[in-house]
Symmetry: C2
Subunit: 382 residues, 2 copies
């Protein structure tokens, strides 16, 4: 080891690091990613060099992955017949779901709400899938009547959003599930953000409907541990109602130790799997429940503080996502950046987004509000 | 923090860990992945929680990524006009290359040698791309005459392999490049394994031809730092001759800080980028040159020891990959597993594969050979 060279490189890295914002500072308010829990980081490190693309070399890590998938099955009320794949995140999970739907139905058209994540635009382009955009109703949820009318004989799948990226809204999944049962259409629920939140909302809020495999029409679900799962990037999962569907997207693998491989990526580290497993053990269902309660509580508090400023939300928050209406979101975002805060602008809603991730405390919101007020005043929002 | 719970979880993780093989033990002889260099691990850790899917939050990490891409440009003789994308590995890079080719040419057929990695089977299924398999010649290289005859008006791309997964062979890229220039076809080179090896082979071996962007017909290349780059999973790159092609695979991103995003994955950690950047600085071109020389030297030694046993190779190694012909590879692999060695079987070649990765020393080969001889005797190969 060349210690001098090492130090020189670490110094250069520190320079890059210092230019970044960090989750731990609490100054990133607009991201759906998080400072990973310490146990997640510790576990990640330990398993950094394992490769789940060649599972027979790493049978222990593979066993842990299977246990992690079982945890997600429980969390999402998946039946015994179900299966799952660990992925790099929501985009890969969504692609994989549509790949399965296409293979099962032999059709190339999917219906997606206008609130869907941009990964579906990628799917359209990558896979030559025709995207039919279903308008939203006044509550920013998929318009069920319009959805029904837009179904065609080419429809392979409908996408329901359980925690939209912009506003954290939850589409009426029970109604979509019924439609998909009646019409024999694959139903994929994008719960990349909401998968770790919605299971615990029923305790806190009224009118939270079922959104998972309890509904018989739900075929598959995306869930991301690197979002509200408090774990490290990259960790998503695609859960599917029938594990045999994996055969539809499997290829033979003639030179690694297993014979077949399902899904998109081949080589992938066991580090993030260990991280997500460790945090799932550390928190468990009970711990996640408490975490979500805390985030929702801070969300309510933030909502109150914003309304006290005299600003309006795009829609009352269902989850820990706030869309704040502004005349000129770009200008406010710029000002806030000057003050050291990173929030996301949403031009098409004329709004900014704040996400109350686990590391965002009331104290941070208390620090933020005066700067936000100042920014709004300076650009003429208030 | 609950210290008791932490200890309990780490103990459980240790149990899984103990069931795995490890690269550091030197007992994994068949994988193309590696024990990452210590500086790569250190850098990975530091940048674990950064997200390059939202680069304006992490401008320092993004700057580092751009520098890493510049290093790959230099390594692969890419022109000024070129660009690149960091990916999770060869599979994602290959998918992205074909995505670009499809968009540029509006055609859905690709020609791939029979030695191509199984990721192309995934591409066929995922993207509805018609795969035309080109037979190999006696040296296990793509048959140029047959390739010429198989080109049709639907051909969007030809794939050349620079370091095949099974045997480490290098297709005659100059000839394929000429064909692609003449016929106006996209040429993607899968150098996921060979990208860090072939640039240094000219110093060591005769008859090593150009394989990279020096050849005007080469449109794109895959290269994996988590293979011979001595870095950590997941780190691949797709390098492309013309950076404007990224526009063909970009979508608008209405709620993160940048306006557009090219490529497949969205959220992705800066950790592996930092790892690959750190090792590229630590080794540099000179260090990689020495590393490859050492691996090739150990490969020659291994070849000699195997031939002394009276066994034959499928083909004389071009790189640090040895295919050893056996009557019953599965049985030998089983025996070797009993002795604590992990090599890969290649049923379709009736052979096993040994890859001389950076951590495989002559001493390890000296330990392996007697066990290998014993295994071969016990199952009747010798």
């Amino acid at each position: 080891m060349n210690e001098e060279k090492r130090k020189e490189i670490l110094k250069e890295l520190q320079n890059y690091f210092d230019k970044d914002y960090t989750f731990s500072s609490g100054r990133i308010l607009g991201s759906m990613c998080t400072q990973p829990h310490f146990i997640a980081k510790e576990a990640y490190n330990k398993f950094l060099e394992t490769n789940l693309g060649d599972p027979e070399l790493f049978p222990g890590t593979k066993e842990m992955e299977n246990k992690l998938l079982c945890f997600y099955k429980t969390l999402l009320n998946a039946p015994k017949s179900s299966g799952g794949l660990i992925s790099s995140g929501g985009t890969e999970s969504n692609i994989t779901a549509i790949w399965i739907a296409k293979k099962l139905y032999g059709k190339n058209e999917i219906l997606i709400p206008e609130s869907a994540h941009f990964s579906f635009e990628k799917i359209g382009s990558l896979m030559d899938i025709k995207l039919v955009h279903v308008p939203l109703d006044n509550d920013y949820l998929i318009d069920i009547l319009k959805l029904k009318n837009m179904i065609s004989r080419d429809t392979a799948a409908i996408i329901g959003i359980a925690g939209s990226t912009e506003l954290g809204t939850i589409d009426p999944i029970p109604e979509i599930s019924d439609i998909c049962m009646d019409e024999d259409i694959f139903l994929h629920i994008d719960a990349a953000f909401g998968g770790f939140v919605i299971p615990f909302l029923k305790d806190i809020k009224e009118n939270i409907k079922d959104f998972d495999f309890k509904l018989k029409g739900v075929s598959s679900m995306s869930i991301d541990a690197h979002k509200m799962g408090y774990s490290a990037i990259p960790l998503g999962a695609l859960m599917i109602r029938n594990k045999d569907w994996l055969n539809k997207i499997s290829v033979t693998t003639p030179y690694i130790s297993s014979n077949k491989q399902a899904g998109i990526l081949a080589t992938r580290s066991g580090g993030p799997v260990a991280a997500a497993y460790a945090i799932s053990k550390y928190l468990g269902i009970k711990g996640y429940n408490e975490l979500i309660k805390k985030c929702m509580n801070t969300t309510d508090y933030t909502e109150k503080r914003i309304s006290e400023l005299g600003l309006n939300l795009v829609v009352k928050p269902t989850m820990n996502v706030l869309g704040i209406k502004l005349k000129n979101p770009s200008e406010v975002v710029k000002k806030l950046t000057d003050f050291g805060w990173k929030v996301n602008k949403m031009e098409r809603l004329s709004a900014i987004r704040i996400v109350i991730m686990p590391q965002i405390s009331k104290e941070i919101i208390e620090e933020f509000i005066p700067d936000f007020e100042k920014a709004c005043r300076e650009v003429g929002e208030l």
